[in-house]
Subunit: 199 residues, 2 copies
């Protein structure tokens, strides 16, 4: 027990210390209400100028799942086929259209961003990735396990699902209740002195 941590020990365990990436899932369905719940938490932590560029495509069973599987690396295919729901997390490069509403103190930022597609793409991908960090912990807060996977063909997924939109896929995440042998032993984490310096 570290008494410098304000967060309750049960919450520490749920979100950080005991939570694990799941590789198998039970048949227990994930409801639309549970997916809305994830958003109710994940929407709050900060993004640059409150731009919130993260977008989520939820893929349930059937033909869309089959199409998604063709773009997953082979090692990720079996678990992506059996998870109750799969999330494709993406950055919306047209996030600037929302600026007048989400950042009303500087609505003219929309027009400046409209003229800078390269800067907009960079800003969208950075802030959406930050939001994925929040989102993964929100999945755990909703009592679900997440299985994030970078091993997929992003260009293929974008063509398959986002051809008519400004979304760019960043990560694919299986969601559900952990099944049998859902995880391997935890891998080592780097020590404080390996990742932190003091100036």
């Amino acid at each position: 027990m570290n008494d410098l941590i304000t967060l309750h020990p049960e919450a520490q365990a749920l979100l950080f210390t005991d939570a694990r990436t799941a590789n198998t899932f039970t048949d227990e369905p994930v409801s639309d209400a549970q997916l809305r719940t994830i958003h109710e938490l994940a929407k709050y932590p900060p993004t640059a100028a409150n731009t919130q560029p993260l977008r989520v495509l939820y893929v349930r069973d059937g033909e869309p799942r089959e199409r998604l599987l063709t773009h997953m690396n082979e090692g990720n295919r079996a678990k992506t086929a059996t998870a109750p729901v799969v999330a494709v997390l993406a950055a919306d490069t047209d996030f600037h259209e929302f600026v007048p509403r989400v950042f009303p103190i500087r609505p003219q930022m929309r027009d400046a961003l409209a003229e800078d597609p390269a800067g907009r793409e960079q800003m969208a991908r950075f802030n959406a990735t930050l939001q994925i960090g929040y989102w993964l912990l929100a999945v755990r807060a909703a009592g679900l396990a997440a299985g994030p996977m970078g091993g997929f063909d992003a260009a293929g997924v974008d063509k398959e699902f986002f051809a008519d939109s400004s979304w760019q896929s960043l990560l694919v995440v299986n969601i559900g209740k952990p099944g049998p042998d859902a995880w391997f032993p935890r891998l080592p984490r780097l020590d404080y002195d390996e990742v932190v310096r003091h100036a």
Copy 2:
């Protein structure tokens, strides 16, 4: 109250619903033990192949703080001058050196990454940004407020502090206890139906 959320309501408030980005701070110091505590939580959530490329430079008062201030956008300078401690969050593009220890099931990944500096940089920046999401919530879990700022000269900071290293700065974050008038009213968040699609 949403009974689909497993996370205790006090923890929801601390990390998500009531937490705010702080723009002013009290004089109360942040101890090294508190900074270690942030790492004890932030180190756990997942990264690709457990690579953990996030690095943190903590800047306290004095000459290093003065040097940092010269690279902050003018609007961020006053708050960065007065926060008890400032974190420069960075991606380590030489993260692959740790692969044999942190991903022992595939130690040869180190050599493959050694030959792909461009892929390594992309992987470092993406996974470190994901970890910043975890890290910001860990700051809150430690009972502190964070004030993340994208408005700084990243190339200038890298030259000033990381010239002899493989670190690339991504975000600067003030940390401390919120001071008087620490925040503006909360800005609007996008609705579920604006950011989510179902396939």
